[in-house]
Amino acid sequence: MTTELPMPGLRDVPTTEEPQTRKDFGSDQEVRWCPGCGDYAVLAAVQGFLPDLGLKKENIVFVSGIGCAARFPYYLDTFGLHSIHGRAPAIATGLAVTRPDLSVWVVTGDGDALSIGGNHLIHALRRNLNITILLFNNRIYGLTKGQYSPTSEAGKVTKSTPMGSVDTPFNPISLALGAEATFVARTIDSNRKHLTGVLRAAAAHRGAALVEIYQNCPIFNDGAFEAFKDRDTADAALIPLTHGQPVTFGADGEYAVVRDHASGAFFAVETAEVDEARIHVHDAHGHDSSAAFSLSRLTDAGHLHRAPIGIFRQIERPTYDDQARTQISAAREKSGDGDLDALLNSGDTWNVA
């Protein structure tokens, strides 16, 4: 399969000729998410999509932190590491640097990645480790039973904020772009096709790929993404981004995204009202991330009625792990493999007879 699609991100991961099916990737563990949880849809998409990669399953590792989403690795018959809160990107860093032959995935949530693990996330992104990060964003704390999260809208009333939260939320896409990420995308649990397409592109990317997945929590934040799921509103709510294409959305491209040249900000207008040349053509591959950042600002900060989805940015930059390994091979090429005896006897020595 890998020959059909260029997959630089998986370049060094061994493939198999054996046909794989979704069943091969299911573990023997009973899935224990709440009924109706968006995590089921993501799990099904991942299990359904992994066989397409044709990788040896023992060379795939899922690393997670803490939270509902962090149970993900238990349900996949690959190698898995369910670690501690927020630290999965750090653990994945050591793994990815040590083992170029692995496909390393991080599964995290909005609390795990953006609160307790915010530091590790931004540094993994800027270093551009060859890992794929799936950020399940349900805009709430689920496992601790319903406190507001760093992506909850301001004013959110929860158990810990009875008078409403006074925190300004993060926009994970804006944050990732600010952190110099080379691959930044957003998708949604309810759109299997879009989800799979983004996952495939993320896996193909060589470098840190951040995929924000809007994921509904039916228990503590039900309906957070309703605008994107309701057939009547979805078309006008989701702004699909496709590289090289004008950014339009709504039924029959009813709306278009144009730039205000004074502020540089993007805004939506009725397509019929503007000159076609003014419609922004999405460039995910440009090295300047300003346009991608401005597009990310089209996301509602409060309750979600509108948000762009798709790949905001996808550029090539050397990865940390490749460069770390290159330095080692360069040192070995220049001066040969390390010789322990010579090392211990280096410097000023003297002999005692």
Partner: protein, 635 residues
């Protein structure tokens, strides 16, 4: 003029100056010359946490003490015989440590009113009043002599005067008959790209030597003959470099790639610096975004089949504890090297202490036991690192290694080991399923244990058929799936403890040094106090009193016979640079009424104070009402 040469058996020199005066370099070079000559030696660098405190002030004083001898020595020495003071502040800060009659070589250049005031000599000049009457003082305007000697190189006055440390080094090298070639070739290498600076430094160094040789200032020079030492090749080594080499050796011996995840922190950063030079050994050094990421990445490397290591000091250990607890749960090899410093909190970053023992033992949530091991001298950091890796890999466990600031920066001659004698370390990765189900299917159970070591299999990603999931949640015994079963949890807690306890099987009995067999008192120590305790024990024995010494490398588990050893003596003295942490562990575990001797000054013990403490305890033996704890509290 032929000058008199006097034989000495040992000398302690302290170089002291402003933190910008290059005293550490001067000390290092003198040490290297001394090592090449074949003396036994021990060094103690002592510098402020500030990189450049205001010039000429007491907080800005940096010093380097070197003790060298024609016999085997154990410490950098209690008090200097010679002080080289580069300015008034250096004199004032160090004079209190100098016994009457010691030699002072002082650069007079900075003894101006302004600098004297800055150093706290208000309205008086110690070179002119009676402050130094009890000492053998040599006043030399080192700065002016240096500037004059390097005139031809056309340096600015500031650059020219910076070579004064080399003048001082040259003078001291003459005074103690040190070889000059190593320093000249060192300067040639160091300043190869700046010929005028190179030539100025070499000239200043030679001029300093000639100044000693030709002027009347010094009537006598000294000779300290080489010490008889076991045959072999030696080099001088600091604890941090020895630790880095030990980690590389462990990687070579285990054939596991070394991965260091670390965040810069004093006094551990030099291990990161050293390891980052050795990429040819496949060493990856990852300078992480924080302490937590450092250990997290190391653990990730271990999960992938590498030798994961993190290096830090006490504050970093506090941050890493949750990940170390995860490593306890995952039962993966991991080395955590704590180069201890004064605390709590930021404490004394550049000073030494050994107060992280209880943090190493218990600083994690719940029952999270791990082996703890401590080197006893700078060179011993090498063996201890290899030993720590051997335990971690054999038992699939995180291991805490407790070095400290004194070992890290101190140095001593090291008999370079024969690499053929290093222990083999077998990673012994799992390669196939290890369990058969009732219906005859082969499965892999990640928590099925080796019956002898209780270690679980290390199955690295990429091994077909061994796909499995592990994590921080409690595991069911054997198959390792999540389990909340009460009985299983009790079993797993006890099993993790039992596994660490079994490390005692491979560490051997307590090494007790009791040559006469008549000692009534045993002195027990751990870590960097080995030198001062050993020197104190020698002093007490030389005075005719037998005393036994045992120094613990393994703090968890203790050697299996330790309780019996402790009970064999009437009294056990435990000197520590903390308020009694090992003493607490010994009392708790063995119900032995050990006596502490505790000082937490940021400096190593002096052997004389320990000799006094031993003598006090000896003299109390036959006094029935004596309560050593009360005596300790009164101190």
């Amino acid at each position: 003029m032929t000058k008199q040469v006097r034989q000495l058996d040992r000398v302690i020199i302290r170089f002291a100056g402003d933190s910008g005066d290059g005293m550490q370099l001067t000390g290092d070079r003198f040490t290297q010359e001394t090592a090449t000559l074949g003396n036994d030696l021990s060094t103690l660098p002592n510098f402020p946490a500030e990189i450049r405190a205001p010039a000429g002030t007491l907080p800005g004083v940096s010093s380097f003490q070197v003790h060298f001898a024609d016999h085997d020595i154990l410490t950098p020495g209690d008090a200097p015989n010679v002080l080289v003071a580069m300015n008034p502040a250096a004199l004032k800060a160090n004079l209190g440590d100098l016994p009457k009659g010691s030699t002072i070589i002082v650069d007079t250049h900075d003894f101006t009113n302004r600098n004297l005031t800055r150093a706290g000599y208000n309205g008086s000049n110690p070179l002119e009043d009676d402050t130094l009457d009890a000492y053998d003082v040599h006043q030399v305007d080192l700065t002016t002599l240096t500037v004059e000697s390097v005139k031809e190189f056309g340096l600015s006055r500031k650059d020219a005067s910076r070579a004064k440390n080399m003048f001082a080094l040259g003078l001291l090298s003459w005074l103690y008959g040190r070889p000059t070639e190593p320093t000249i070739s060192f300067l040639e290498r160091k300043f190869a790209s700046a010929p005028d600076i190179r030539d100025a430094n070499i000239t200043a160094f030679n001029t300093g030597w000639n100044f000693g040789e030709t002027t009347e200032t010094f009537a006598v020079s000294y000779e300290v003959k080489p010490a008889p030492m076991p045959a072999g090749t030696y080099r001088n080594i600091t604890g941090n470099v020895a630790l880095a080499y030990g980690l590389i050796a462990a990687s070579v011996q285990s054939r596991l790639p070394l991965f260091l995840g670390s965040y810069p922190i004093t006094p551990a950063s030099d291990v990161l610096h050293e390891l980052s030079k050795h990429k040819r050994f496949g060493v990856v050094t990852f300078q992480a975004e924080d302490e937590i990421a450092g250990v997290g990445a190391a653990l990730g490397a271990s999960f992938g089949g590498g030798l994961g290591v993190t290096t830090t000091s006490g504050p970093g250990i506090a941050l890493k504890s949750e990940t170390v607890g995860l490593a306890v749960m995952l039962e993966l090899p991991l080395l955590i090297c704590d180069i201890q410093r004064g605390g709590p909190s930021t404490g004394l970053p550049t000073k030494t202490e050994q107060a992280d023992l209880l943090q190493a033992m218990f600083g994690r949530n719940s029952e999270a036991p791990l082996p703890v091991i401590a080197p006893r001298s700078p060179a011993d950091c090498f063996d201890t690192a290899v030993e720590a890796a051997r335990i971690a890999i054999t038992y699939r466990t995180p291991v805490m290694l407790l070095s400290d600031g004194y070992l890290a920066n101190g140095s001593e001659p090291w008999l370079i080991p024969d690499i053929a004698e290093l222990p083999a370390i077998e990673a012994d990765f799992a390669t196939e399923p290890n369990h058969e189900t009732a219906d005859g299917e082969r499965e892999f159970w990640p928590y099925l244990r080796d019956p002898e070591t209780l270690a679980r299999p290390w199955a690295v990603p990429g091994t077909p058929g061994l796909e499995h999931r592990i994590g921080g949640l409690e595991k069911a015994d054997g198959h390792g799936n999540i389990s909340y079963d009460p009985t299983n949890h009790d079993l797993m807690v006890r099993t993790r403890q039992a596994k660490v306890d079994r490390v005692a099987d491979i560490i051997g009995p307590t090494d007790v040094d009791d040559p006469s067999g008549d000692a009534r008192i045993l002195v027990v120590g751990w870590g960097s106090t080995y030198g001062p305790i050993g020197a104190a024990v020698r002093q007490v024995r030389a005075a005719g009193t037998p005393v036994a010494q045992a120094h613990l490398r393994h703090l968890n588990p203790f050697p299996a016979d330790l309780g019996d050893v402790l009970r064999r003596y009437e009294r056990v003295l435990v000197p520590e640079m903390n308020l009694g942490q090992l003493a607490m562990l010994l009392r708790a575990k063995y119900l032995v009424d050990v006596v502490g001797y505790n000082r937490v000054r940021g400096l190593p013990f002096q052997s004389s104070e320990l000799a006094d403490a031993i003598a006090d305890l000896v003299s109390s033996l036959d006094q029935p009402d004596h309560d050593p704890w009360q005596q300790e509290l009164r101190r």
